[in-house]
């Protein structure tokens, strides 16, 4: 029993619980945008379980592959893999098993849904992490597409096909990702440089990066608003979404006009809160 507890404690940081939870919420929101109020609890449970396993599995696989660069960065050097608390081969096995089980549950529920979450893992682990992350700063576009897969998958499971709203929701996540990741890479610019990972701040400078963050915030807020309108979200919820979007835009503009560590950190935190709130609003 104690061994299992110890293992769980070691593996917990490998799944990036907050990021996994946020992506799960996007998947649930995608499903509930088509099926609300929820009347099929087994489907919701299956959706939550398959998303949890596939997102956690791909995160563990990313951690396994990136353990060498994690060891070079102060922020990540104490993670279980670079610090040697977990055997790399063991982490690889766990990551693969969890991912396969998650995709298998997804395929058993609905072939299209399973295919989309498999696509999400493939893009995230193979295209983003293994192929592009160490080569180009533009790899985050693929990271963004993989981040949009849970919401597209949830929507596809809800309506049985891929519609324009599902694609719009994917794009909303894709455009939101730079706001989240680029503010983070500005904050930890030196860390990424020392690990040799190309980022927008190190490749194009902070000014251009802040401009991209502002533009992507505008696009994310616009696309999510259009998707919410298409879903038929009530006016009251649309008003609230508009208010939260204006908060995001104000911070993004402030980061361009008067850049500072405080504004950058505020934008990073607010962007996560914004996405969580927007997803909850899409459920109604």
């Amino acid at each position: 029993m104690n061994t299992i507890k110890t293992k769980l404690r070691l593996y917990f940081p490998l799944i990036k619980s907050l990021q996994t939870a946020l992506l799960m919420v996007t998947g649930l929101a995608g499903y509930m945008s088509a099926r609300c109020p929820i009347t099929t609890r087994p489907t919701m449970l299956g959706l939550a379980l398959s998303l949890f396993l596939t997102i956690s599995g791909s995160t563990i696989l990313n951690m396994w592959y990136d353990r060498d660069i994690d060891a070079k960065m102060a922020r990540t050097a104490k993670r279980p893999l670079p610090s040697g608390k977990i055997e790399p081969n063991q982490a690889l096995r766990v990551g693969l098993i969890i991912s396969i089980v998650g995709v298998a549950i997804g395929v058993a529920m609905d072939a299209l849904y399973g295919l989309i979450i498999f696509g999400g893992i493939f893009i995230d682990v193979v295209i983003y992490t293994i192929w592009l992350k160490r080569k180009t700063a533009w790899s985050i576009v693929w990271g963004g597409i993989s981040g949009g897969m849970p919401i597209l998958a949830g929507r596809a499971l809800g309506i049985g096909t891929v519609d324009w709203i599902g694609i719009a929701l994917l794009f909303a996540i894709l455009f939101w990702i730079p706001t989240h990741i680029l503010t983070f890479s500005i904050r930890y610019r030196k860390d990424y440089q020392s690990a040799g990972v190309p980022t927008f701040p190190s490749t194009y400078g902070e000014k251009v990066t802040q401009m991209i963050i502002a533009i992507s915030s505008v696009l994310a807020a616009t696309v999510i608003g259009i998707a919410a309108y298409g879903i038929g979200t009530e006016w009251g919820f649309l008003r609230l979404m508009a208010v939260l979007s204006l908060g995001l835009l104000s911070l993004a503009i402030a980061s361009v006009i008067k850049p500072s560590e405080t504004v950058n950190f505020g934008l990073f935190k607010y962007a996560s809160l914004y996405m969580l709130s927007a997803m909850i609003l899409l459920m109604f």
Partner: protein, 200 residues
């Protein structure tokens, strides 16, 4: 600067949720302009609350605080005038626009007592409107009895706005620490009073 506590964060979060609720449900019998004005007021309250939760009270050091804390009473009073005194709507819109521009101008181009005059005037008129209009209308029976709670909320926002505005203009009424200690509770009471009043 006072460090933000867990209790402060909880109070601000509840305030934000009340403001979000008010934005979603809107107000009974309010026209488009009134709903828009109320949405701006509660929207600024919501976003400002979230930013304080995220960044702490340090965010209040920004020179924009005076301007932002003026938007709430101005837009809330505009909503009330538009809904309950429609014949005054056009004149009040002019006051709101001119008053807001004056406050912005005074923040960047004026100093000392001269900078405080537009601020006190605009806050005073908007605050009195939010305080008196609901109370008078509920006494006269032109609005529901419970609508007077909006006036109570108006009194609280007036206190909060003036405390912040004078603190930022360098003529603090209370110490900074005291203001920051009472601010989250004051904002929550204000949001709760508005919610009860508008639901009446």
């Amino acid at each position: 600067m006072k460090k933000i506590s867990i209790l402060d964060r909880i109070l601000l979060l509840i305030t934000g949720l009340l403001a979000a609720y008010q934005i979603v449900v809107g107000m009974k019998n309010a026209g488009t302009l009134a709903i828009s004005a109320y949405t701006v007021a509660f929207g600024v309250l919501l976003v400002a609350g979230l930013l304080i939760i995220i960044l702490g009270f340090d965010v209040l050091d920004s020179p924009l605080v005076v301007i932002v804390s003026t938007i709430i009473p101005l837009s809330l009073s505009l909503g009330l005038v538009s809904q309950y005194l429609p014949s005054w709507q056009a004149a009040y819109i002019i006051f709101v626009v001119v008053g807001f521009l004056l406050v912005v101008y005074s923040r960047y181009k004026m100093e000392g007592a001269m900078a405080v005059i537009p601020l006190a005037s605009v806050h005073g008129i908007a605050g009195m409107t939010i305080f008196l209009l609901p109370i008078i209308f509920s006494i006269q029976g032109k609005a529901a009895n419970g609508f007077f709670w909006v006036g109570i909320g108006g009194a609280l926002i007036g206190i909060g706005g003036l405390l912040l505005a004078f603190l930022k203009s360098g003529k603090a009424i209370l110490s900074k620490k005291t203001i920051l200690t009472v601010l989250p509770g004051l904002l929550l009471l204000m949001a709760a009073a508005f919610m009860v009043g508008f639901a009446a």
